[in-house]
């Protein structure tokens, strides 16, 4: 068993539990601060400090094992600032960041965001890419972001890093990555009705014939 302090109150919980598991073991019926329970959704961001140590850690409660003398505070919501825009109207140039998220240019380079990232991302670096208008690099560097917001809670410049990165990824996905020509062509074929005959033909087959086709279909190597 280990001792943990949930919002300052002491509980004894079995070793090896995640922080989320420890909270439930302690009797919490979670509503806030619990989402996918698998490290993808960013609902369970948590800050903790080990008694006697100076360093403050940030993590996802569902992905982190409890330690003895852990002081735990959940951060189920952080007020990120999301700007509203029309993805079809904006352009992937440096201007767009200046207009929507000008505070990124106030970054003082303290690197607190990177230290706080629950995913271990180089947050300050992706903000630097965004400042330069290098959205492809920003998108790549921020790709594993779960938008938990812990980075922003530590930022003296008031940057909403996950929202900046989201904008960069959408710009990259829509405008910067090359077009998939085979996709454009297939969509046109479907919309022109060129695929209709083949699908109607296979739909008209009795199940016995469909089974025959399925069991002997060639499988791409």
């Amino acid at each position: 068993m280990v001792n943990v302090y949930l919002m300052g109150k002491k509980y004894e919980v079995p070793e090896g539990l995640t922080i989320m598991g420890a909270m439930e073991y302690a009797g919490y019926q979670l509503v806030r601060g619990c989402g996918c329970r698998n490290g993808f959704c960013g609902a369970c961001s948590t800050i903790y400090r080990i008694k006697g140590e100076r360093e403050l850690h940030a993590c996802l409660a569902c992905q982190t094992t409890v330690e003895n003398d852990m002081y735990i505070a959940t951060l189920p919501f952080f007020p990120l600032e999301k700007q509203v825009y029309d993805i079809n109207e904006i352009k992937p140039d440096a201007q767009v960041m200046m207009q929507l998220y000008p505070e990124i240019y106030s970054c003082i380079g303290c690197n607190a965001c990177t230290k706080a990232c629950t995913q271990g991302l180089n947050v300050m670096q992706y903000i630097a890419y965004a400042q330069r208008g290098d959205f492809a690099a920003c998108a790549e560097e921020s790709f594993d972001c779960v938008m938990c917001g812990v980075c922003s809670s530590r930022c003296p410049a008031g940057i909403s890093h996950p929202q900046v990165a989201e904008l960069a990824r959408r710009l990259n996905g829509k405008y910067l990555m090359p077009e998939a020509k085979h996709l454009t062509e297939r969509v046109k074929e479907i919309q022109d009705g060129l695929m209709e005959k083949e699908i109607e033909a296979i739909m008209a087959k009795p199940i016995s014939e469909l089974k025959e086709l399925y069991n002997h279909r060639d499988i791409e190597k």
Binding site: C34, G39, F40, V84, F143, P178, H182, R186, I207, Y214
Partner: protein, 536 residues
């Protein structure tokens, strides 16, 4: 490294056989062999997991014990004195659920000019969509076609799929991918723009599109951003606890409850879209689950009480590769993409006992066979498991591939000191997907309740009795968009009459007549994992 001596001993055999196993292409099972394997080992065939439904539109059919418990529980509004003339939200389209299907529906309803609102019991994006790792299918390559996709879907679903729904799925597939791409979803592409596509279990063409192994997360966060850009109202931490009909029997809103304060709110709507997702947190037959916290089949209960029919409610998908070890992530998903990229399933003796890309139901049954009657499972302390030989990936595709293509998986295991590039991982089936759900027509409307639409995992019939990897992300987009467009259209032609909850009273009376008096309330809303608390 936290593997036990017994695990390490078995791992030695896996390592010794690795080169040979990489070269081996295990024989595909015949149709007869697959059927025999499923009948003997798949949980869907285990009689004690099911009971006969005693009330409602599917009376006489089988349902999982835990689902039937919710179907026969009391309505949460049964004892409430509600004034339905006091309306808190009045909209054209009410979307229940904030996952991929609900968000797609809301975006399209908004695009069609409807006044649309999303209500969700957790946050927008807290959904199975967010956790879908592997990818999304669509027949957009020259060697592929919607008809070829159709054949794979029907065969994989054991020919029980509704053909008109499958047609819509495969024909609208490439259109859905294009729509997502134009919203800014970053699909994996080659330098010339060609989509990088791989196989999934049961596919005959490489048509699995991905965004690393964050495919669902990338789609979900883009859709969420778009919902917010359009300033569509999202009422979060608020559950729909009952549908409201009007005096003509049309769906006309929902009773809502704030998950934190308990406040009751009334939403009136011209049309309603159920996009409440799956049921993994019902833990059918005691299985762990890969699903998000709120996957409790709410929409099925709401729809059923209002008179909508269920279809294939007795078939669940157990993903063959759930985490079996370590305990902290027990039941979490190991994406099928790991097998798509060449990792094979290996038993305790180092044998590649099956083709890794048989359909999910077949491979789940195969794992259970190795771990039970074949006695070739590895003991994890929580049961038996087989190996998924992940080091094969970099050996086949070159060093660095696993890190680039499966970053989420690598991160998840590294947190527990397991480097899946170097050592294999232990897996066992986990409850993953609700194959069945509410019955709909191709326009997304339920067959029995007018103006009630359904999209996403709450739908039954698209995937028959077994879904293929990558067809769920596809269906939430295709049928989500469809439900949004159709519900907005229907809303324009609808006049809502007086609101009523008579259907709930009638259902309660039916339960009473059948001699059922449950001590439970439904929908479940959230599972109860808190120690020392009584379930309500």
């Amino acid at each position: 490294m936290m593997y036990t001596p017994e695990m390490l001993a078995s791992m030695k055999k896996v390592e010794a056989a690795r080169e040979k196993n990489i070269a081996l292409e295990p024989r595909r099972l015949t149709a007869e062999e697959k059927e025999a394997l499923l009948k003997q080992y798949h949980p869907d065939y285990k009689d004690e997991g099911f009971v006969t439904i005693e009330v409602g539109p599917n009376k006489g059919e089988k349902a999982p014990v835990e689902l039937n418990e919710m179907l026969t529980a009391h309505s949460r509004v049964a004892d409430m004195d509600l004034d339905l003339t006091k309306v808190d939200y009045d909209v054209d389209v009410l979307v229940i659920g904030g996952g991929g299907a609900g968000s797609s529906a809301a975006i399209e309803a908004h695009e069609a000019g409807a006044n649309v609102m999303i209500v969700t019991k957790l946050r927008i994006g807290d959904a199975n969509t967010m956790m879908a790792e592997g990818g999304i299918q669509a027949a957009d390559k020259p060697n592929d076609s919607p008809a070829q996709h159709y054949l794979d879907v029907m065969g994989g679903g054991h020919y029980a799929n509704r053909p008109e729904l499958v047609k819509k799925l495969v024909m609208d597939g490439p259109i859905a991918i294009k729509w997502l791409n134009e919203l800014g979803v970053e699909f994996d592409k080659d330098e010339d723009g060609t989509m990088i596509t791989t196989h999934g279990g049961g596919t005959s063409r490489k048509r699995m599109h991905a965004a690393a192994d964050y495919s669902g997360a990338e789609i979900m966060r883009t859709l969420r951003d778009e919902v917010l850009n359009r300033q569509i109202p999202v009422v979060d931490f608020t559950a729909a606890i009952e549908l409201i009909l009007d005096t003509e029997g049309k769906a006309a809103g929902a009773v809502l409850q704030n998950m934190e304060t308990g406040e009751i709110l009334i939403a009136r709507a011209k049309t309603v879209v159920i996009a409440t997702g799956g049921a993994g947190r019902m833990h059918y037959q005691g299985f762990p689950t890969s699903n998000h916290y709120g996957a409790t089949a709410d929409g099925l209960i709401l729809g059923y009480r209002a008179g909508a029919k269920l279809l294939y409610q007795d078939t669940l998908q157990y993903h063959p590769t759930g985490v079996a070890f370590p305990a902290q992530i027990f039941g979490a998903l190991v994406t099928e993409k790991v097998r798509s990229m060449g990792a094979k399933l290996i038993n305790s003796e180092g044998e590649a006992y099956i083709h890794p890309l048989e359909t999910r139901d077949v491979n789940a049954a195969g794992v259970i066979r190795e771990c039970s009657t074949n006695n070739k499972g590895v003991d994890t302390g929580m049961g038996k498991a087989v190996w998924l030989d992940t080091p094969m990936i970099d050996m086949i595709h070159g060093k660095g591939t696993l890190e680039k293509r499966l970053p989420a998986m690598l991160r998840m295991y590294l947190k527990y000191g397991i480097d899946m590039r170097e050592v294999p991982i232990l897996i066992y089936p986990t409850l993953h997907y609700q194959n069945g759900g509410l019955e709909i027509r191709a326009n997304g409307e339920t067959t029995c309740v007018k103006n009630l639409f359904v999209a996403g995992e709450a739908v039954g019939g698209i995937h028959g009795r077994n879904r293929l990897m990558g067809n769920s992300l596809l269906d939430i987009i295709v049928f989500g968009r469809n439900a949004g467009q159709q519900s907005a259209k229907a809303a324009k032609e609808t006049t809502v009459k007086e609101l009523t909850l008579e259907h709930v009273k009638k259902y309660e009376a039916e339960l009473k007549n059948a001699g059922i008096n449950s001590d439970k309330y439904s929908p479940k809303l959230l599972p109860n994992y808190a120690k020392g608390r009584k379930d309500i």
